[in-house]
Symmetry: C2
Subunit: 144 residues, 2 copies
């Protein structure tokens, strides 16, 4: 398994897969091609024998000079539990540190219990949101 | 009418409106809160007497140091044809120029004939895409 930076063309491979990877939830609208084109230097693909088995799409916050944001992480259902996610996150953490960022935010849906457990295991903490935003779990992690 | 920078809280006002503004098309999944939080300095709200009547969400490309991208522009149906869109675009052009960017990209759906006509009027050119990306019209504009 190797990890490399995202390319624009990865969109055409990943976009048709993600509803399946998310157990039939309609997720692909949330990941337009712009993320594959304009955030290449902070987004990563995990590949095995030429097949994409995982990805992480993240970016440096333009508003907050100390922050980075992870928008989407997906692992092929048959390749879960092998530490691929952890490698993708660690790669992201390393790169954003090089850009002087130490705070990482991401959100997940309250229905996605696996995601909540996973982020907690990865050292993210649940942040108290504004009272309006009840439909999202907000995560924050500070790199030391 | 005044134009100001986006705030995170604008998401809660705009998100419930946009499917209506887009004539019932399901668009709100394409505009998650992250755009209101992390691209504040290149995203704008048009407001009249405290009511949001238009918005433009754009960002500086992280991959291409000369490029900026416009993700979403919406104008309240009753306030179209008054030049609000033009003012939002011009505000965006001014700000990205200050960041040393001169190329702007955006995409629209082939079904959205109004959007295609509007971008052409605003000086965008249609770019030949890769053959796979048939479901999008790709626009480019170079600031002089």
């Amino acid at each position: 398994m190797e990890i490399r930076l995202v390319q624009g063309s990865d969109y055409y491979v990943i976009s048709p897969l993600i509803n399946d990877w998310w157990n039939g939830r309609k997720m692909s609208d949330m990941l337009p091609k712009l993320f594959f084109d304009h955030f290449k230097n902070t987004s990563f693909i995990a590949e095995e024998e030429g097949e994409i088995i995982g990805f992480l799409i993240g970016f440096l916050s333009q508003s907050y000079s100390n922050e980075a944001y992870i928008h989407f992480v997906g692992i092929h259902p048959e390749h879960r539990g092998k530490g691929i996610g952890r490698q993708l996150y660690n790669q992201f953490f390393d790169v954003i540190k090089q850009h002087g960022r130490s705070i990482i935010r991401c959100v997940t849906s309250p229905v996605n219990k696996d995601s909540i457990a996973y982020h907690t295991k990865m050292g993210f903490e649940i942040e108290q949101g504004d009272s309006i935003n009840q439909d999202k779990v907000l995560f924050i992690k500070c790199l030391t």
